[in-house]
């Protein structure tokens, strides 16, 4: 009898402590290591930002953050996985501008509303860049050429429906001009074609042409940003020239929609501390990437604004399904 009571007591005790531990676990997030899903291949821009972030945030979280690359479908595979992850904060992801463009292409099951933004880390505007041997010294001259020769100015981009294609389309729709958009398999091959004078311009980011601009082989005519680029202060913005087009790619941390409030707050606080580290900013600088931190709520506003713009644009140019 006595022993029976003892067993019961022990069982109750174990159960109680187990329940308490579980409660404690929920309160003390994170209790185990966190997976950071990157929807692009190791070694690319998004991956490098993710690894620099993981490096920095590890110092501000009791558990480690590990990077996992899930590539495919121009980002759709990885982003779908982040969306569908259990919302407990142990699988977070790099949310890129493709969150706002892929749904319109009809190749993704997610929309911008399926994610809770934690922090934007980096943003790169589009820029119109030409070969240094080209006759156009200013963006006005280039646009004048495009006006006189509709469909003749070939602008290389990183793939149909990808961000730099949409940037060139946005410029075309705002100015009423007609370009010949040539998709390449990524930004680098497009830049190579421009170097060989096989196309007239590219719409990729200043970072992706910076070494050639520094070497004097390419020339940036304008950037599609609110302010001039710090690295190339001589290149005007399109806004200055009276063309209201701003298109940028961005990368940041997102979690699935239903992630609990306390987890989101913990991640936001840790991310804020991580990006304030000089080491993180130095790392971005080294890679020619611009630091563009936004806290969760502001990031959400920026994401929704882009989602609306791309939806309208892609419908207009017939890309949206």
């Amino acid at each position: 009898m006595k022993s029976y009571r003892f067993v019961t007591g022990a069982v109750v005790g174990v159960l109680t402590s187990a329940t308490m531990m579980m409660a404690a676990q929920a309160a003390e997030y994170p209790a185990k290591s966190i997976e950071l899903i990157v929807p692009y291949a190791a070694g690319g821009g998004t991956d490098l930002v993710a690894r620099a972030y993981a490096d920095a945030v590890n110092r501000h979280l009791p558990q480690s953050v590990g990077v996992v690359n899930k590539t495919g479908g121009g980002g759709a595979v990885g982003l779908s996985e982040i969306m569908a992850a259990r919302p407990d904060g142990y699988k977070i992801g790099m949310g890129t501008v493709e969150i706002t463009t892929l749904p319109n292409l009809g190749v993704a099951r997610f929309t911008v509303a399926d994610f809770t933004p934690i922090a934007r880390l980096n943003a790169e505007p589009s820029a119109i860049t030409v070969n240094a041997s080209a006759p156009w010294k200013t963006i006005e001259e280039f646009l004048a050429y495009a006006k006189e020769n509709p469909g003749k100015a070939r602008i290389g981009n990183s793939g149909t429906g990808a961000i730099w294609h949409l940037a060139a389309e946005a410029l075309a729709s705002k100015t009423g001009l007609k370009f010949n958009h040539v998709p390449y398999d990524g930004a680098n091959p497009a830049v190579t074609a421009l170097l060989g004078n096989h196309i007239e311009a590219v719409s990729v980011s200043p970072a992706e042409v910076s070494s050639h601009v520094a070497a004097g082989t390419l020339r940036i005519l304008a950037v599609m940003d609110d302010q001039r680029s710090k690295a190339f202060p001589d290149a005007p913005t399109l806004k200055e020239k009276g063309i209201d087009v701003t298109v940028a790619t961005w990368r940041g941390i997102v979690v699935p929609k239903k992630t609990p409030e306390n987890v989101v707050n913990t991640l936001r606080a840790a991310s804020k501390k991580a990006v304030e580290e000089q080491g993180f900013r130095d790392q971005l600088n080294k890679m020619n990437l611009s630091y563009a931190y936004l806290d969760g709520p502001d990031y959400k506003v920026a994401m929704e604004k882009d989602a609306e713009m791309f939806k309208a644009l892609m419908k207009q140019i017939g890309l949206a399904k």
Partner: protein, 513 residues
Amino acid sequence: MYELDMLLHGAQALFNQPMALLLALFGVTLGIIIGALPGLTATMGVAILLPFTFGMDPLSGLLMISGVFFGGIYGGSVTAILLKIPGTPAAAATAIDGFELTKKGQAGIALGTATFSSFLGGTASVFVLIFLAPVLARFALEFSASESFALAVFGLSIIASISGVSVIKGLIAGFLGLLLATVGLDPMAGFPRYTGGYTELFNVPFIPVMIGLFAAAEAFKSLEDPQVRAGMAAALDRIIPPWHVFRRQLGNIARSSGLGIVIGIIPGAGADIAAFVAYNEAKRFSKTPENYGKGELGAVAACESGANGCTGGALLTMLTLGIPGDAVTAVMLGALTLQGLQPGPLLFKDHADLVFTLFAGMLVCYVMMLVVGLGSLRFMGRILQMPKSVLTPTILALCIVGTYAINNSMFDIWIMLAAGVAGYFMQKWDFPASPVVLALIMGPMAEANFRRALSLSNGSYDFLYTRPITAALLTVAILTLMLPLLRRLWSSRSGGPTVNGPTVASSAAEGSK
């Protein structure tokens, strides 16, 4: 001479940095292992090591990555020759004749030839990189979409020469590969084709298909008879090929290395294409082309020197112009940028000391590859002595792990297993697997670049004959396709009706065997 002087200075600087040399050795060794494992390619090895270079000094980090690059390209050949399992796409070409040599009991010499050819091709390409970089870099910019299209067509024409016994079966396999290559996102318009709603199929799962067709199919085949040992146990007696045998390959290796370097320089074309093109040209220039596909040492030498010749070529455009020649150097571009070394024309001006020390280091990497390679061959050769009941499950496990590692995707594993079953039946019915692989490499390249070229020319087909490189490559492609036919005609005519000799009909039949 400026370059030679700088190189000597570089070598001096290099030998004062034992840590960098140690990391280079580590990189080479790791690269060989990664290359030998199916699914793990040089690209992936470099990408995985990239974050570790963040904290290193530029020389150590870059040498380690170069080591992985070089070792990874070479390592694929070891398992290709011993087990017909190409560790990398480039080694799919090596596997054709390499495995036949193993079956003949000449695995040792095949491996030794592969190692020496890789070393010679790679070293030659690094020397070209050092001395001719500025001259050759401009050639890369001549290459536009139309030239890439023509190169891909030329690549596809090689199917005729790697088909083995039956050209018809080779062509069937090749067209099957081309059909598979149409799956995925349309290269120009970006809409999904034949994906059945799976986002995983947006890119053709090329490496899983290759692993399935070669490695898994081979494993399935050996399941038929698990008791048998590989049967070539005693074959690995001699690794270093006798001089009188190797001497005959030197011309072949020189030509293949040259081809490899040029293909490496061309943006978007890498070691896989180089290996197949080198195979084709070695066969074209060989006195005994009929031996190709049946275990010809020249084929192994050509594929390996071609693939490794690519390394220097790809690095050349990456370093001088900042444009990567293939997937590996695209990742390396990131590594250089991270170290604050902006690749491009200014790199040689601003960081000449470091660049030439790096060049010296690359040469050392190739010597290390030779030593580590030759040293490990005997150990690797023991694979042949393993009973199949142990080897087969190991291979299948490696196939699954390697496939999963590419994209962390279970989906890819199913693709690989399906390809394995298909590959098993292809083997049974004598359909060669390498044309499928070739078509999967060249098909998307041909399609995307043809349509891009049309877009660039505003819809005019003139680029097919107005651009000299395009026209030349297309002509060579047609010749390659026609060559077997012409040979047959020629042999039937020269062996024509003679007294008591074979009749026209029988000699023609002989030619088609």
